[in-house]
């Protein structure tokens, strides 16, 4: 019963609302069917499926709110969960930041659900793994990969008349290919709503080629280099920048978006004027739910909207011509600042250019090509400085050609400095669940000057 239709979800939620004796009530119904397969050492190691539907109810009396959850849906259970949320609300301390639920909003239908993905079977997963393992084994390469897929829905109703529904599918694939002699490693990631776009054999070939080409890497001196970042690498740092764009922290003076002397950098140019980043739930390549909390899987961004649950998502600029267009305001902070709430985006889109990776390499005199970054952690939130390492395919470029693989580097760099040192933007690619957080993004290849590598790593 994990995927309920709009009508089925509405029927259950209506019953829940009628049981309420509190000042108000809000109920969310989330369901998810997921499956995965994991392999290592060219053999499947684990696989599984899960299924869960859960009802969450928040009741409130004044500014005292209580939440209870249940996964049974007969009338007695629905009433029980409402009563429990009311009891917990009566026991709770007053929350001065409590916001009453939203009234009815207007939502457009989203494009996040694809039937083919919803119909993935264990046999499909097994074949997808085999299509990745077999070509690896044939080339003296060892595959370790993970494919995970989900189909889910999310529905919301409250005592102020709001009802919202969305369903979504996703498939995420990563594989690390290591040469059997341990000297070369390649990696690839693919993330889609539509499984028809996924070809694990094609993706695995990219990673196998990288593994073979990255054998016997040479050490070059750490320092500042021109880099060409593949979208997975750049996307991680841009995703992390988004996490720091919370308006409340900026207003409170504890964010890289806080301005020296007071105020925030909203409306100020902080990066190169060719940088345009926006969110658009209707984008065909990276569709997102049309409302906050409507992810359809109960995950981080799908589920927890906090006091912003139910807000409609809109197309919105984040950085326009290098200028900060929006910071993210939850409903409480927006009410304090007398502005419109700005929900955290469901996708990230950075405008690219026409250059292919080959074009960008051809135009590079000396530089480093980076496949991906790894173990990215904050060093200084004031400057948004992060450290991390290159991994699974790092190459030296000289006079327009890839000259040889190089040993991995540790970097210490801020995405703000990186986007100020922009040289060229290339074509966009969809990237998924990297280290920059779990919303799908369209990120271009980008060439950056003076990227700071601070030490060498022997890791392959």
């Amino acid at each position: 019963m994990a995927i309920l239709s709009k009508d089925e979800a509405q029927q259950i939620l209506k019953k829940v609302i009628t049981f309420s004796k509190a000042d108000g009530i809000e109920a969310t119904l989330n369901g998810n069917d997921g499956g995965n397969i994991r392999y290592a050492r060219n053999s499947v190691s684990t696989s599984g499926e899960d299924s869960n539907v859960s009802l969450g109810v928040q009741s409130y009396f004044g500014k005292k709110a209580g939440t209870a959850t249940i996964n049974e849906f007969d009338d007695a259970s629905l009433e029980k969960v409402v009563r429990r949320s009311e009891e917990l609300a009566q026991l709770a301390p007053e929350n001065p930041e409590f916001m009453e639920p939203l009234t009815q909003q207007t939502y457009q239908d989203s494009k996040t659900f694809i039937e083919a993905t919803a119909n993935i079977t264990p046999d499909y997963r097994a074949q997808a793994a085999a299509n990745s393992i077999n070509p690896a084994a044939a080339k003296e390469v060892t595959a370790a990969g993970y494919l995970t897929d989900s189909r889910g829905f999310s529905a919301l109703m409250n005592s102020k008349g709001l009802f919202a529904y969305n369903k979504a599918t996703s498939v995420d694939f990563t594989v690390t290919m290591r040469t059997n002699d341990g000297t070369g490693s390649g990696w690839v990631t693919r993330n889609f709503n539509d499984v028809k776009k996924l070809d694990t054999a094609e993706a695995s070939k990219v990673a196998i080629d990288k593994a073979l080409q990255s054998r016997n890497a040479k050490a070059i001196e750490p320092g500042k280099y021109t880099v060409i970042l593949e979208p997975a690498a750049a996307g991680d740092l841009i995703g992390l920048m988004f996490f720091g764009m919370n308006a409340r922290q900026a207003d409170e003076g504890r964010s890289f978006m806080s301005k020296k002397g007071g105020g925030t950098k909203l409306g100020e140019k902080i990066v190169d004027e060719r940088v345009n980043i926006y969110t658009d739930p209707w984008n065909e390549e990276v569709p997102a739910s049309s409302w906050i909390g409507g992810g359809g899987g109960g995950g981080f961004f799908g589920g927890g909207g906090g006091n912003s649950t139910g807000l409609p998502r809109e197309k919105m600029d984040i950085l326009k011509n290098g200028v900060v267009s929006n910071l993210f305001y939850d409903r409480y902070w927006a009410s304090q600042k007398n502005v419109k709430p700005v929900p955290f985006p469901g996708n990230r889109i950075m405008e690219g250019g026409n250059a292919s990776l080959e074009d960008m390499i051809k135009d590079t005199k000396k530089g480093v090509l980076v496949t991906r970054f790894w173990y990215i952690r904050p060093v200084d939130p004031q400057t948004l400085l992060y450290t991390g390492l290159t991994r699974d395919g790092t190459f030296y470029i000289e006079n327009g050609k890839i000259k040889h693989p190089i040993k991995n580097f540790r970097f210490n760099e801020s995405p703000i400095i990186m986007l100020n040192n922009l040289e060229t933007l290339g074509k966009q690619v969809r990237v998924g669940n990297g280290e920059g957080g779990g919303v799908p993004s369209l990120i271009p290849y980008m060439k950056i000057r003076d990227f700071t590598f601070t030490s060498l790593s022997d890791a392959v």
Binding site: N32, P96, A126, G253, G261, I376, P381
Partner: protein
């Protein structure tokens, strides 16, 4: 096999703080925490139903984990309670071997019928996966323990302490920090209780009651004029103890170098928050470090994380073998290095043990999640790599007959696999205090508490920050530094260890939520050490302008 959901609390640290809550966890009335639900005999009858079903379907091995996982999170900021979350998750995970292949299934339907159906699913998955199996599973033998039990030796069950008492304690700590001039304070108490029942087809029936507690805060200071801000986390440790950890006994307070108060077996959150407000202002005013080579004196509240990342992870056998290659990575401690019996991991001062029995540690249990009695064993002896951390289906690969007992699952709904034991640096044999150690350093930095951290996928190259950095000049602490991070190669770093203070200075800290696996699972693990000195480590300056 569940992904995890998170509740985001903005403002807790640099960015945001995530509370890990299982997708299957239901919010409950805290009064429910004290209901036992099922007694041991009821659990045994249910487990036997699964064991019998599996046997009749051709399983050659089966284990059943009936688990009840309770969590409480009390969060506050400044003068406000932000949230009180009480969750319960209850269900069963069943693992079988059929045709030499693992199969696993889980359900929250813990009835005789539910056990049967879940077992059937586990068997079906094992049969489907056996098509791809290249090497049949070989389990190291383990004794049949019969009906046994184990409990974390707590004095005060945190779940019995009224929520109001916890809220009052946190708000009191917040108030003290604000009085002393902090701009913002977030504070939290996490409580975990794992009630785990394990039964196997080999005749072990193990009932365990595991408690963990973690008070924490973030005290912030902001200097609007210069645009600087800093946060100082609590000097508490997450512990395998009850609420008695918050008693803050005088005998557990340690007056350290630089005027810093550290805590051992109990913690005074109000005193620490007061001290944090003073220190966080000094952190802003501190001198920016001159990059270069320094002798580092690393306090246990800092060194635990370096041990965790650079010793704990690379000695995990599943990483060495490549099972984690696509996510957490592999390890530079390859089998040939261990086989040589002379791989120089560190200096002679470096003795590192794995221990699942250490009292008060996060990893302490009587038996692991595949029914192996826990123990202590050497990983690094006099600087040489002597062993790994391995579980029943992998330990045969290193020619050993006995599992190390470090198999763990975060929940009934996830399959158990190799997880890190408590991995700790043993104290030095010579009498030595941190003050005496510092007195011998000409140009150095004394680092207190863990901060920023990053390490490569084979655990060679790392970078660590910290919270308090004190400059040492000619044997004396001169004042506070900022913008400090050190970078090193693991083997070089541990070979630069020249001194470890004695057992009087030995303390544990740890990770409440260490991630590994796909889908990711969380593990809690402690790391002990005394203050240790590392010579000639490369320090960089992390200050930037944007």
């Amino acid at each position: 096999m569940k992904r995890r959901d998170f509740i985001q609390l903005t403002g807790m640290s640099a960015g945001a703080m995530m509370l890990p809550i299982s997708s299957f966890a239901n919010s409950v009335d805290p009064a429910r925490f004290l209901d036992p639900l099922l007694d041991v005999q009821q659990k045994k009858a249910l487990a036997d139903a699964a064991l019998n079903t599996a046997k009749s379907l051709g399983a050659t091995y089966t284990d059943v984990r009936i688990g009840r996982y309770l969590n409480q999170f009390v969060t506050t900021r400044e003068k406000k309670v932000q949230n009180i979350i009480n969750t319960e998750s209850f269900g069963v995970g069943i693992r079988v071997i059929v045709n030499g292949t693992w199969g696993f299934a889980a359900s929250n339907n813990v009835t005789a019928d539910g056990m049967k159906k879940t077992t059937e699913r586990a068997v079906a998955i094992a049969k489907a996966n056996s098509k791809f199996q290249k090497e049949p599973v070989k389990l190291a033998t383990t004794p049949s323990y019969g009906e046994v039990s184990w409990k974390t030796p707590i004095v005060k069950n945190g779940f019995e302490v009224p929520v109001k008492e916890k809220v009052d304690l946190l708000l009191n700590a917040n108030a003290k920090a604000l009085e002393k001039g902090a701009n913002f304070v977030n504070s939290i108490i996490f409580l975990v209780n794992e009630q785990k029942y394990f039964a196997s087809s080999e005749g072990s029936y193990i009932d365990q009651d595991v408690h963990r507690t973690w008070p924490n805060f973030s005290v912030n200071a902001i200097d609007r004029a210069s645009g600087q801000f800093k946060s100082r986390p609590a000097f508490s440790a997450p512990v395998g103890m009850g609420y008695e950890y918050l008693d803050g006994k005088a005998e557990d307070k340690i007056q350290g170098p630089g005027g810093v108060i550290m805590y051992n077996k109990s913690y005074d959150i109000v005193e620490d928050a007061t001290m944090a407000a003073e220190q966080v202002k000094q952190m802003i005013a501190a001198k920016s470090v001159e990059p270069g080579k320094y002798d580092l004196v690393l306090e246990p509240s800092h060194l635990w994380l370096t041990i965790h990342e650079s010793v704990g992870h690379p000695t995990e056998l599943d990483r060495v073998l490549g099972y984690e290659a696509n996510f957490a990575g592999t390890s530079f401690l390859t089998l040939d290095k261990w086989q040589s019996k002379k791989f120089n991991f560190g200096s002679k001062q470096v003795n590192i043990v794995a221990d699942k029995t250490q009292v008060g540690s996060l990893g302490a249990v009587g038996y692991d999640d595949e029914g192996v009695q826990c123990k202590k064993w050497d990983l690094i002896k006099d600087g040489v790599l002597v062993n790994y951390q391995a579980i029943r289906d992998q330990v045969n690969i290193i020619g050993q007959k006995e599992s190390h007992g470090c198999c763990y699952s975060q929940s009934w709904s996830d399959v158990q696999f190799q997880r890190m034991a408590n991995v700790s640096l043993q104290p030095g044999k010579e009498q030595l205090t941190p003050e005496q150690m510092i007195a011998g350093v000409e140009k150095g930095i004394y680092i207190v508490k863990d901060g920023s951290f990053s390490i490569d996928q084979q655990r060679y190259n790392f970078q660590f920050g910290g919270v308090l950095f004190f400059e040492i000049k000619n044997g004396k602490i001169e004042g506070m530094l900022k913008d400090v991070a050190y970078q090193a190669n693991t083997q070089d770093f541990w070979n630069s260890c020249v001194q470890v203070c004695d057992e009087r200075d030995y303390r544990m800290n740890g990770a409440f939520n260490d991630g590994k696996g796909q889908p990711p699972q969380s593990n809690a693990v402690s790391h002990g050490s005394a203050t240790a000195r590392f010579n000639g480590v490369n320090v960089i300056n992390t200050g930037r302008t944007i």
